[in-house]
C-alpha cells in the first residue's frame, strides 16, 4: 500500500464515521462540529485528487464561513429532543422515499455499464507548474461564463430576498447613526464661555 492509498483510507474512514455521527448525535452542536470534520476530511480527499483549489475553497467557504454561522444559530437554540421526535413516524414514509431515490441514483452510477469507471478516460498527469486555480478561472470566465453569472445572480436574488423578508423597522428604537456621531465637531457639543473669576468677599 502506498502513501496516497493509506491517506485515502484514513480520510475516508474519518469522513464516513463523522457523517454517521452527524445524523446519530443527540446534541445538535456536536452534530454541527462533526459536519465540520466531515467537510474538512472531504477537502483532504479532494487534495489527494489534485483539486487543490476546490479543496481549499471548501475549507474557506463551508468550514470557515457557512458552518460558523450555522453553529452560531444552533448554539443559541434550545432544542427539545422529544418534541423533535414527535413527527418521526408521520414523516418516515417521505424520508424513506427520498432515501430510496438517492440509493437508486447511486446504484445507477455504480452498476450501469455506461457510467462505470472503465468508461472514463484515465486523466493525464499534469506538468509540475500546472495551476488548478488558473485553469478553473479560465474555464469559468470564458466557456461557462453564462452559467456562472446566472448562478451568481440567483444567489444575489436569494440574498436580497432573505434580507427583504426579515428587515423590519421598529418604531421608537433609540438608534444612533454612527456616521453622524463620528462627524460630530467640538462646537456642536460644548460651548466655551468666558467668565470672570469670582472674587473673594
Amino acid at each position: 500500500m502506498s502513501f496516497p492509498e493509506i491517506s485515502f483510507y484514513f480520510f475516508s474512514t474519518i469522513l464516513v464515521l463523522s457523517a454517521l455521527g452527524v445524523i446519530t448525535s443527540r446534541n445538535p452542536v456536536h452534530a454541527a462540529l462533526l459536519l465540520v470534520l466531515a467537510f474538512f476530511t472531504s477537502a483532504g480527499l479532494w487534495l489527494l485528487l489534485g483539486a487543490e483549489f476546490l479543496a481549499i475553497t471548501l475549507v474557506l467557504v463551508y468550514v470557515g464561513a457557512v458552518m460558523v454561522l450555522f453553529l452560531f444559530v444552533v448554539m443559541m437554540l434550545d432544542i427539545n429532543l422529544d418534541q423533535l421526535r414527535e413527527g418521526f413516524w408521520k414523516w418516515f414514509p417521505f424520508g424513506a422515499l427520498l432515501a430510496l431515490v438517492m440509493a437508486v441514483e447511486v446504484a445507477m452510477v455504480l452498476i450501469n455499464k455506461g457510467f462505470g469507471i472503465g468508461q472514463m478516460p484515465v486523466p493525464s498527469p499534469h506538468a509540475p507548474d500546472y495551476s488548478n486555480t488558473k485553469e478553473l478561472g479560465r474555464l469559468i470566465y470564458t466557456e461557462y461564463v453564462y452559467a456562472f453569472e446566472l448562478a451568481a445572480v440567483i444567489l444575489l436574488v436569494a440574498m436580497v430576498a432573505a434580507i427583504a423578508l426579515t428587515l423590519r423597522h421598529r418604531s421608537g428604537s433609540k438608534f444612533l447613526d454612527p456616521a453622524q456621531q463620528v462627524a460630530v465637531k467640538r462646537k456642536d457639543r460644548i460651548r466655551i464661555v468666558s467668565m470672570p473669576s469670582e472674587k473673594k468677599e
Partner: protein
C-alpha cells in the same frame, strides 16, 4: 543531506525509505519554524509590556533577569510567565462539556501555526511552495474562529458565551474585507503563490512595492487584521470592562495561555503577510549596495517588527470601539471600498498598454 537520505534508504528499504526521509525532513523543518515563532511570541509579550510602558511613562517589567546580569533586567519575564502558567492548575468547570473544553485551545492554536507552512522567508526558505498559498492562508485563518466558538459554548457560562458571539460575528465580517483586499494583491501579481507575489514587487526600490498602488487596500488589510486578531481597539471579544474576559473567562493555567499564544501567533502572521504582500517581503527598500548586502531574511524581520510595533502602538493609543461601530466599519465602509477598488483595478489593468505607457510615472501597470 545525501547521507541522511542513503541512511533512510538502507534502514527502511527502497520503498519506504524516501517516504520516511521526507517525513523526517519536513518534521524538522516544521520545528525550525514553530520553535522560533513561539519564542517570538514570548518576547512579543515582553515587547508589548515594555513599549506600552514607555508610551505611558512607566518602566514595565524590570525584575526577572538571567544569572543576575543587571542589564538584562526584565528579559527573563516571559520565561518566568511561561513557567508560572505551566505550574498552575487547569480547572474544568463542573457542568462544562469536558472534551470540547479541552479541544478549544488546541483548535485555536493549530490553524495559527498551520498557516506558517506556506510563508516564504526568503526566495528559497519556504516549507511548502504551493500554488494556492494565499488561498491556503485565508482558509487556515478562517478556521481559527472555531476555537473561540467552542471555548465559549463548552464553558457553559454566560459571559464566555457573550464573548463568543461577539467574536464570531466580528471575525466573520472582517474576513470578507480582508479577503477582498487580498484579491487586489493577487490581481496585481497574477499569482496566488506568496513567493511569486514578492517577486512581482521587484524592480529596484520601494516604489514598486504594492504598498503604493494599493495603499487603501493596505490600510483595509491591516485594520481588518487587527480586528481579526481581536486586538485593541477592536478587543470587544475580551473587553475586560464589559464582559470580564470574554470567551476564555473559565480557562486557567496553560489552557488559558494557549489562547494567548494563538492570539500573538496570529498577530505575527498578520504582520508577516502584510510585509510579504504590501511591503515587498524579503526585498530591500532600495536596490543599492549597503542595503543589498543585508540578507533578505533580515529585511523581512525588520518589516514584521515594524508592523508588530504598530499593533502595540494602536493598543496604547486608541480607545475601544463600540460594538455597532465595529460592525459598521466592517460592512458599510471596508467592503464597499474594497469592491470599488477591485472594479477600478480591473478596469485599469484592462486599459491598452499603449495608453498606460503614456504616463511616465506609471511603474506598476504594463
Amino acid at each position: 543531506m545525501v547521507y541522511a537520505q542513503q541512511f533512510f534508504g538502507q534502514f527502511f528499504g527502497t520503498e519506504w525509505g524516501p517516504m520516511f526521509f521526507s517525513l523526517t525532513k519536513n518534521l524538522l523543518l516544521i520545528f525550525a519554524i514553530v520553535l522560533p515563532l513561539l519564542l517570538g511570541v514570548a518576547y512579543l509579550t515582553f515587547a508589548e509590556r515594555k513599549i506600552i510602558a514607555f508610551m505611558q511613562l512607566r518602566v514595565g517589567p524590570n525584575r526577572v533577569t538571567f544569572f543576575g546580569i543587571p542589564w538584562l533586567a526584565g528579559w527573563g519575564q516571559p520565561i518566568a510567565d511561561a513557567v508560572k502558567a505551566m505550574m498552575k492548575e487547569i480547572i474544568v468547570p463542573e457542568r462544562a462539556n469536558k472534551f470540547l473544553f479541552v479541544l478549544a485551545p488546541v483548535l485555536t492554536i493549530a490553524p495559527a501555526l498551520a498557516a506558517w507552512a506556506v510563508v516564504p522567508f526568503s526566495p528559497e526558505m519556504v516549507l511548502a511552495d504551493i500554488n494556492a498559498g494565499l488561498l491556503y492562508i485565508l482558509a487556515m485563518t478562517s478556521m481559527g474562529v472555531y476555537g473561540v466558538i467552542i471555548a465559549g459554548w463548552a464553558s457553559n457560562s454566560k459571559y464566555a458565551f457573550l464573548g463568543t458571539m461577539r467574536t464570531a460575528a466580528q471575525v466573520v465580517s472582517y474576513e470578507l474585507a480582508m479577503g477582498f483586499a487580498l484579491v487586489c494583491v493577487l490581481m496585481m501579481s497574477q499569482s496566488l503563490n506568496l513567493g511569486d507575489i514578492v517577486k512581482g514587487q521587484q524592480g529596484g526600490s520601494l516604489i514598486n512595492w504594492y504598498l503604493i498602488p494599493l495603499f487603501p487596500m493596505f490600510l483595509v488589510y491591516f485594520i481588518s487584521g487587527v480586528a481579526e486578531t481581536n486586538r485593541a481597539p477592536f478587543d470587544v471579544a475580551e473587553g475586560e470592562s464589559e464582559i470580564v474576559a470574554g470567551f476564555h473567562v473559565e480557562y486557567s493555567g496553560m489552557a488559558f495561555t494557549v489562547f494567548f499564544l494563538a492570539e500573538y501567533a496570529n498577530m505575527i502572521l498578520v504582520a508577516t503577510l502584510a510585509s510579504i504582500m504590501f511591503l515587498g517581503g524579503w526585498l530591500p527598500p532600495i536596490n543599492i549596495v549597503p542595503f543589498t548586502l543585508i540578507p533578505g531574511f533580515i529585511w523581512l524581520l525588520l518589516k514584521i517588527a515594524f508592523m508588530l510595533f504598530c499593533f502595540l502602538w494602536f493598543r496604547a493609543t486608541f480607545p475601544r470601539y463600540r460594538y455597532d461601530q465595529i460592525m459598521r466599519l466592517g460592512w458599510k465602509v471596508f467592503i464597499p471600498i474594497t469592491l470599488v477598488w477591485i472594479v477600478l483595478l480591473g478596469g485599469i489593468m484592462q486599459l491598452p498598454s499603449s495608453f498606460l505607457g503614456m504616463f511616465p510615472l506609471n511603474l506598476w501597470f504594463h
